[in-house]
Structures are given as C-alpha cells and as structure tokens.
C-alpha cells in the first residue's frame, strides 16, 4: 500500500473510544468481526489441545492390547468426548473464526451484517464448551455413547440423575446448533448483501463461495439434528418413546435425523478448507486459479448433493437394498465436483513459480492427505465394501485423513497465511517448517496404520484388542504422540511472533485480494473508503487492476 493511502487510513487506525487497543480487547464483548474472528480461533485452539490430550490418553491405552491404562468405561467417555469436542468445539468454531475474520475483508465490507448477533453467537461457544467439559465431573462421568449418541445406548441412565453426561451432551449440542444458526444467518446475509460495489458473484474470492456453501448446509441441515436432539432429550428425561424400541419407538429414525445433518457437516468443515486451498495455491504458485468459475460453482453443487447422501452411514442399519444402491450412487457423485477442485488446484500449481513457505507446505500436505481420504471415501461409498469394514479402524483411518489430514492441515495453512494480516507481524519460517514436518509425519504415522488394522478386522471403540493388531497400534500411537509434540513449535511460534515477531507489512506474500490492500492488522471498520472491484480475483500475471483507482497493484 502506498504512503498516500496509508495516510488516508490513519484516522481510522486510532483506537475506538471505549475499546481497549491491546490484547485486553479479546476478552471484551467486542462487535468487531476481526476481534470475534480471533476470539473464535483462539477458543477453538484451546479445545483442540484439550481434545488432543484426550486422544493421547486413548493412544496410550492402545499401546498394549490389554485395557491397562484406563478402564473400559473411562475409555468410552474418552472417545465420545474426543469426537464431540473436536467437531463442535474445534472445527466449527475454527471455521466460524476464519469466516468471521476473512469474509468482510474479502468482500469489501466494514463488518458483518449483524455485529451484535455475531458477538452473541461467539459467546455461546465457551458456554457450551464448559457444559461439555463439566460432564467429566457429574456422577457417572461424560456421555459414553459415542459422538453419534445413538439410542438405545444414549438412553441409558444408570445413575438415574436428571443431570448426567448424556443430557449435558445434548444440551451442549443444541446450544452449539443455536450458535451455528446465528452465525450462518449472519454470514449468508453478509455475503448476499454487503459485497463491495462491482463485486458480482463471479468476482468473489473462492473462500467466500465455499463459506457460503458451507453455511447453507448449516441453515438447512442443522435443524434436523436439532429436532432429533430435542426428541432424544425428551426420551431421556421425560420418558417419551420416540426412539426407545422398548416402548415402540424407532431408533433408526434418530440415525436418519442425525446423519441428514452430520454427514453434510463434514462438508461444512471441508468446504472452507477447499476455499483456503484455492486462496493459497495461486499466491504461492504466482498463477491465477485454474477454472475459477467452475471451482466456485462446484462448492454449491457439493452442498446440493450433500443433502442426499446421508444413508451411506447406515448401510449396516438394516437399510433395504434399493436404498443402499441409491445412496451408493449419490455418494459417489460427490467425487465429481470434488475431483474438479483437485484437478483445478493441481493445474494451478503446475508450472508455477512455487514458493515453499509454511502455508504452501501445509496446503500441499493437506491436499495429498485429502486425495488419499477421497480414495478411501470412494471405497467406503461402495456398500459391499462398507459393510465389510463397518465399525472397524478402516473407517476411523478414513475420517481422520479427512479431518486431520485435510481440515486441520488446512486450518494451519490458513493461520500461517493470514497471521501477518491478523497480527501485523511475521512468524518464524524455520519453526513453521519444523511444525509442518512433525505434523505431516505424525499424521500419516498415526492414521495410515489404522487402515491395515481395520482391513484385518480391528473394531473401533475398544480399549483392548487382539494382539495381532499390536504392531499397527504401536505405530499409530507413536504418530499420535508425535502429533501432540508437533503443537509445541506451533504454539511457541505463534506466541513469540505475535509478541515480538518482525513487522510483516501490509502484503508480505504479494497476494491479490481486498484483504491485502488494508494495513496489517486492518483498522477498525476495515476500509476508509469502500473499494470498487473491477476484475476477477487471482489476477496473477495480468495487468488488470483488482479495484478501481488502486494506487498500487501487486
């Protein structure tokens, strides 16, 4: 950014009256989307570390075939809380944090459409986080029915207390749903109505497309889970018979409610990561995103298809043959728009002047793991194979490649890429690369051995297992501990760089995008003057400016 436009922004760089301008603002009820974004990200990361610790206790247990470290009941609570926390306290809040921070900047808006609703949605997150973790301290411990909470298992209440691990679980999930709907209404309204002048749909960055696609799933999928959760709560506390087979209820209906949302939920978290990849590859390969309009629209195609695939989680639930065939087919179709994206990224990177900075390394690593997850995903979409490996470690390995391999690596890529923008400071590249190497090796060592173990028949959710699976489990546990260790250089890097890292400047990556035109960190209300967008994003190597009258173009 030129000096002249820097000066023009100076007045708005002043702290707003009444708002502290230091780290303390992250502990206030701020309505600034950037503060809320960072609040989400940091809160999510704290829970990520906690849920990761639970995972390491599990991997410690699985080092030996016997259940010697924790007993089976504790183990059930561990995997239930690990899954629930990772999904509801890490991936969704993390996604909301990224979307909150980036979307208004990327579309040229001063804030979200409803700033106060935005803050309220965020402050529900620590509340339901505390409710979930509190379940460790109630009689009977946390829920032990897995993150699916399938009845009739989830309807068992041996302690007889109204407040038990399972009812706290349902309460937290319902609150998480309310927060997500509030967030989704806000983000969808912001994207539809607050884009800068000139930013037509096909001039919007792909990240915003993917966030929009993801939030539409939240809006139209999440209520089904809420309905199921309400009915489950009544069954558990009042004694109704919706899902209780002993009273004539139908537990499989719960599975339909649950998966109608919870399968699309994986796209809620993976789609914005596709957006992150689409933002990062052009910058570090210095090339325009290949096939931009197709990549943009394919996100909405995935959203549409996501609503008709849920039964593939229920191939082994007594589902009739015709339904298996139908959902096998729809599930496999998802690979088409997804494949389009993968090919577009490969074509973007192909022949580019690649810079292997930490964000690019994480994006490439995430892409590799995502392709592997996609292949095992197609295998699992095939009903005969799925029934064979149903409830084995093969499934666990598959979704950890999706969720750790693609989503967590993608989040790391995003944090490194936008860290200079968020803090105004640069991270230490050496520590970043060390973090990447440890994470990539740790993740593959942790999650790859789950596939052979699963194919050999090792069931999931068990604290003890047949000694024939011991080799693969030792490997996986070592990988798990390595993943735990890998967060140390990351935390060191982030904390020390944020405090005293070198000044990053406004656009350290020489990237093209509205968020890079403002100072780092961006001033309150982002833009002194709302920019007028004249060309498509990702114009690397093109002479066309991104915005009208831009005093300087990267």
């Amino acid at each position: 950014m030129s000096n002249a436009s820097m000066e023009a922004l100076q007045p708005s760089l002043q702290p707003q009256p009444g708002a502290p301008d230091n780290w303390k603002r992250f502990f206030t009820f701020s309505t600034d989307h950037k503060v809320i974004g960072i609040q989400y990200i940091v809160t999510a990361f704290v829970f990520f570390l906690f849920a990761g610790l639970l995972a390491m206790v599990m991997r410690g247990e699985l080092l030996t075939p016997e259940a010697d470290l924790v007993d089976r009941t504790v183990y059930n609570g561990l995997f239930t809380m690990h899954g629930t926390l990772m999904l509801f306290m890490w991936t969704f809040p993390m996604l909301n944090g990224l979307a909150n921070y980036l979307v208004p900047l990327m579309i040229g808006a001063r804030d979200m459409a409803f700033p106060r609703l935005n803050a309220a949605a965020f402050w529900l997150v620590p509340v339901f986080g505390v409710i979930l973790t509190a379940s460790f301290f109630v009689p009977g411990g946390p829920s032990q029915s897995g993150w699916w909470a399938y009845p009739p298992v989830s309807l068992q209440n041996p302690t007889g207390n109204l407040i038990n691990g399972q009812s706290l679980w349902i309460l937290a999930v319902a609150l998480s749903g309310i927060s997500s709907i509030m967030g989704a209404v806000n983000i969808v309204t912001t994207i539809f109505r607050m884009r800068a002048p000139g930013m037509g749909w096909f001039k919007m960055p792909v990240f915003c497309w993917t966030v929009l696609a993801a939030q539409l799933i939240q809006l139209f999928g999440l209520p089904a889970l809420t309905a199921g959760a309400v009915m489950l709560l009544f069954d558990l506390t009042v004694g109704t018979s919706f899902f209780n087979p002993e009273l004539g209820g139908d537990p499989v209906l719960y599975q339909h409610f649950f998966w109608f949302y919870s399968h699309p939920a994986v796209y809620v978290i993976i789609l914005p990561i596709f957006g992150v990849f689409s933002e990062i590859f052009p910058v570090y390969a210095r090339k325009p995103l290949f096939g931009y309009p197709v990549v943009a629209v394919s996100s909405l195609v995935i959203t549409g298809l996501s609503g008709i695939v849920w039964v593939h989680h229920m191939f082994a639930s007594g589902t009739p043959g015709w339904m298996r065939m139908l959902f096998m087919f729809t599930t496999m179709t998802i690979s088409i728009p997804t494949g389009i994206k993968v090919f577009a990224w490969v074509a973007t990177v192909w022949g580019g002047k690649i810079r292997l900075n930490t964000p690019m390394l994480f994006a490439l690593g995430g892409l590799i793991m995502w392709v592997f997850a996609g292949i095992t995903g197609i295998m699992l979409a095939s009903a005969p194979f799925d029934i064979h490996v149903n409830n084995t470690y093969f499934v666990v390995g598959h979704f950890h490649y999706v969720i750790y391999g693609a989503v967590v690596m993608g989040f790391y890529a995003a944090i490194y890429h936008w860290f200079p923008k968020m803090t105004g400071r640069m991270y230490y590249e050496g520590l970043g690369k060390l973090h990447f190497v440890l994470t990539f090796i740790g993740a593959n060592l942790n999650f790859f051995p789950m596939h052979p173990a699963g194919l050999m028949g090792m069931p999931r959710r068990v604290a003890s297992y047949d000694p024939e699976f011991a080799f693969w489990n030792v490997l996986a546990s070592l990988g798990g501990f390595l993943l735990g260790v890998s967060t140390i250089p990351f935390l060191l890097n982030m904390l020390s760089s944020w405090a005293r890292g070198p000044e990053a400047g406004d656009n350290p990556w020489r990237a093209i995008g509205l968020e890079w035109l403002v100072s780092s960190p961006p001033p309150h209300e982002n833009f002194d003057e709302i920019p007028v967008v004249v060309s498509r994003p990702y114009g690397y190597g093109s002479d066309e400016p991104l915005i009208a009258n831009a005093s300087e173009k990267e």
Binding site: V185, L219, P223, M231
Partner: protein, 201 residues
C-alpha cells in the same frame, strides 16, 4: 442554500440510505432464519408421518381419534388473523396509526383465542405426552407450534407498545413487517399440521 447545508442534507440522505440498507439486511436475515426454522418443523412432520405409517399401535388404547370441530374453529380464527394482520400493516403504511392499532390488537386477540382453544383441548384429551408415539408426536408438534404462536403474540404486544412512543412508528416498521411475516409463517405451518394431525385419519 449554503454549501454546509447541502453537505448536511447529503449527509442526512446518506444516513437514511444506510438505515434502509440495514433494515433490508435485517429482513433478509430474518427470512433466512425462518427458512432454517421451517426445517425443524419439517423434521417433526417427517417423524409424525414415519411413525404413523410404521407403528403397530398408533392411538393409545381406548382412544378413537381426535375431534375435529373445535380445532377447525381454531384453524379458521388463526388463518383469518393472517388477513387481519395484513390490513394492520396496510394502515401503518398509510400512516393511519389508529387503524393499525385496532387491527393489530384484533390479531393479538385472535392469536390468544387460538392459544386458549388449544389449552382447553389439551386439558380434555385422555392421553399424555408419554402415551405412545401418537401422544408424543401430537404434543411435540402442537406444543412446538403453540410456542411459536405465543412468541408471535408477545412480539405483537411489543410492537403495539412501540406504536405509542411518539414519532416511533416509522422506525418500528421493520419490527412490524418481521412480526407479520412470522405470523404468516406460523399460519402456514399450522395448516400443514392441521391436515396431518386432524384431517389425515
């Protein structure tokens, strides 16, 4: 007019444009929210249909089926109130504040009549929430809908109160429009619910 005045009036115009923009955003967001909420109702409807089609015993033992006469009256009142609220809004647009208040109050009365009718029906039914799948889904659906009617009536009360604050009715228009859309939404849901529960034997 001096330059300052021109500037000032421009500023006023911009502020007003901004306010309209914001109201439009709020309306857009509210409609998005209602679309999302309709999926909760849809899920309950699906549950009702699945249970009715698959369960071995639908009605609790000794129960023949629901009376349709009183609920029908209730339905007519609720559906008519959607027209009444429309006229109330029209009066507000024509800045006829008393016309608005009278028709608005009438809507509230009709909504309250519906709630009262439903409460009377609930008290006389021979089965409870825990009595089988029919009892469960019946109270779940009518209760969840009733909660929405109650919310609607309370919102209407707030809007009515706000109309007595001097010079406030123009600023209160977003609230009035949103409440009215909510009321139509509650109405449409009831029609589907009525057909499912009372008409479909």
């Amino acid at each position: 007019m001096s330059t300052t005045n021109v500037d000032q009036s421009l500023e006023v115009a911009t502020v007003h444009a901004g306010e309209h923009e914001e109201e439009d955003n709020r309306m857009f967001g509210f409609i998005v929210f209602l679309l999302s909420e309709s999926v909760i109702f849809l899920s309950f409807f699906v549950g009702y249909i699945v249970y009715k089609q698959t369960s071995a015993e639908w009605y609790p033992a000794g129960f023949e089926g629901l009376e349709i006469r009183e609920p029908l009256i209730n339905t007519i009142v609720l559906v008519s109130s959607s027209f009444v609220i429309y006229f109330a809004e029209r009066f507000l647009h024509k800045e006829n504040l008393w016309g608005f208040r009278i028709f608005w109050l009438l809507t509230m009365a009709m909504g309250s009549f519906f709630l009262f009718g439903q409460a009377v029906e609930w008290m006389h039914l021979p089965f409870g929430f825990k009595d089988g799948l029919f009892g469960g889904t019946f109270y779940l659906l009518t209760g969840f809908h009733g909660l929405h009617v109650l919310t609607g009536v309370l919102l209407q009360g707030v809007m009515l109160g706000r109309s007595f604050i001097p010079n406030n009715y123009a600023g209160g228009e977003y609230g009035v429009n949103a409440t009215s859309i909510f009321w139509h939404f509650v109405d449409v849901i009831w029609i589907i619910l009525f057909i499912l529960i009372y008409v479909w034997k």
